[in-house]
Assembly symmetry: C2
Homo-oligomer: 347 residues x 2
């Protein structure tokens, strides 16, 4: 229906009147081939528009040159940036990479992993928050180099890249506090799992430490601007009126900004907002987002390096620490005077 099958090594060999071994040699520039033979083969390849079947090659060689990467939410630039960095580095070493997206579904994660294993990827990078202990365990037992970001534990075949969620979040809250803020909200997203919990825990413990000086509210919605928008409506709808909203990440913060605006609140005059990641859109938000800069580029490259033997297989089995940096932009400022209401929150 779509035309003839593509040409095979055999076809080329026949046309060039040589053995398949010889064709293979010229295709891979391995072994030695007399120059006249070579050009005869080359001509045949050209003639037939021959394209080697990578699957067969990988199978025969017993090794694969593609890496796998699984992320929670490609639409969030955070993940996409890491993917692109990983891909770039991988390509430098002659590797391809295939991505899969889970949308935070633990079930999808399981099937993505299976699919990658079935593809016999040379290495697998997981940048997901929904990794459950059993899967983590299982990965540790696979004959496959793995990189885990922000979740799980290192193992002989797994490198862990860990970001300081807790410290960073405390840093943000502290910054807000020293600028006079006393009424906080934390906007997270629905995932009952580790890393994001660390951010939330940091927020809560900070609140606890400040004691009765502060009040706060915790909400969660999906990881998207919509999620941020709905979360904001929920906060405001409850009657609580924060002067600072700490967001789990920039992507949601974009929606929080929108939610505040629609309620007639001005950022940062009435409310300060912080993000996390320093996604490229963060500085294009209006106002530009104050956030924690996470070195996604470095993370992606390191992940690739850890998975590619020639590159740096050395730090397989290690744990790498990443410390984000606070970037103060326009979305935060001093708290408004407490007893100077700035307009009533709208649903």
């Amino acid at each position: 229906m779509t035309g003839p099958k593509s040409a095979t090594l055999m076809d080329v060999a026949r046309l060039a009147r040589v053995s398949t071994a010889t064709v293979s040699r010229v295709v891979n520039s391995s072994g030695t081939v007399r120059s006249v033979t070579r050009s005869r083969v080359l001509r045949a390849i050209e003639e037939l528009d021959y394209r080697p079947d990578e699957r067969a090659r990988a199978l025969a060689r017993g090794e694969s040159r593609t890496l796998g990467m699984i992320v929670s939410n490609l639409k969030n630039d955070f993940f996409l940036d890491i993917f692109q960095a990983l891909e770039g580095e991988a390509r430098r070493w002659g590797y391809d990479v295939v991505v899969a997206n889970t949308d935070y579904h633990a079930g999808r994660l399981v099937s993505c992993v299976r699919s990658m294993v079935a593809r016999r990827v040379a290495g697998l990078a997981l940048v997901v928050t929904e990794l459950e202990p059993e899967l983590a365990q299982e990965l540790g037992e696979q004959p496959l180099p793995v990189v885990l970001y922000d979740v799980g534990l290192p193992a002989p075949n797994v490198t862990k890249i860990q970001i300081s969620d807790y410290q960073s979040t405390r840093r943000i809250v502290e910054y807000l506090y020293t600028h006079g803020h006393r009424r906080f909200a934390f906007v997270g997203h629905h995932t009952g799992h580790d890393p994001l919990q660390a951010r939330q825990r940091a927020f809560l413990e900070a609140m606890r430490d400040y004691g009765s000086q502060v009040s706060y509210k915790l909400v969660a919605d999906s990881d998207s601007p919509y999620g941020g928008l709905r979360a904001t409506r929920q906060i405001l709808g409850s009657g609580f009126r924060p002067t600072a909203v700490v967001c789990l990440n920039d992507y949601m913060a974009l929606g929080v900004l929108k939610g505040l605006r629609e309620a007639g609140l001005e950022v940062p005059r009435d409310v300060s907002v912080t993000g996390f990641d320093d996604v490229s859109l963060a500085k294009f938000a209006n106002p530009a987002l104050t956030t924690m800069a996470v070195p996604r580029d470095w993370i992606g490259r390191s992940a690739a390096a850890a998975l590619i033997p020639d590159a740096n297989g050395g730090n397989l089995g290690r744990e790498i620490q990443v410390d984000p940096e606070l970037l103060i932009r326009e979305s935060t400022g001093p708290a408004p005077t407490l007893d100077d209401p700035v307009g009533d929150p709208v649903s």
Copy 2:
């Protein structure tokens, strides 16, 4: 270094004391296997943690269940959304899909196509603007179902999905014109190729039709908010002061908004801005973007359907037309009174 090789069909067969044929049968639930035998095999599979090698399978059965998709710029939600829609539909039919990104490099496009062909994908969707005629030609000759978006020509094995770039852009300009705008700017991006040219051409011809009543300026930069920002600085820096900026897409428009703001201009009071695509971020922009809604979801699903024989291979070789819809939001309004300057443009 990463442990033993994974178990093979052979291993399972030996352990279960049956032939590989039988193991294959139970793995594929094909043929008939006595229930005791089956459970013996199942046990062996479990025992060995056997995972079939997809590459070998595809090779043996002579067919692949993965689709390929190549896009120009994954960071632009336009492309990502199409990818996700395509992937979703593909999965419904039991297909995987691998994406590749070209960043608008014609060279990268060529190697991406090669890589997909080498992978023996079952079908290939190209959502790129940088497709050059020779490559398009070559694709039409491959024994492979292809979908082309907004570029190239249909062929026996290629379905073309065409969006009305020209009409849509004229529609936008007309809308702006009837709202009193007379000084326009067009912000495009660097690609000397077809589809985007259609948008630009539409803009230019509209200008020509309005004749001396209007003045305009054309600029181009990269497909990103940065690009939009730089383009805006360039316009304003030239001393020209448009009352309406027509952007090639939403992604760049985000940056244009920023650029205008940094120059002290207010949207839409001083300047109106339009995008294209209706990316999800468009409505989260401040102000929300007026734009043309392109049904990315539908496009992605249709592309998948066209590539999957069981789904709808029927419309292979056809040309499908897509007509976006104008969405008026907050970033556009009536032109400011002409001789009422609203602040001097800053570099």
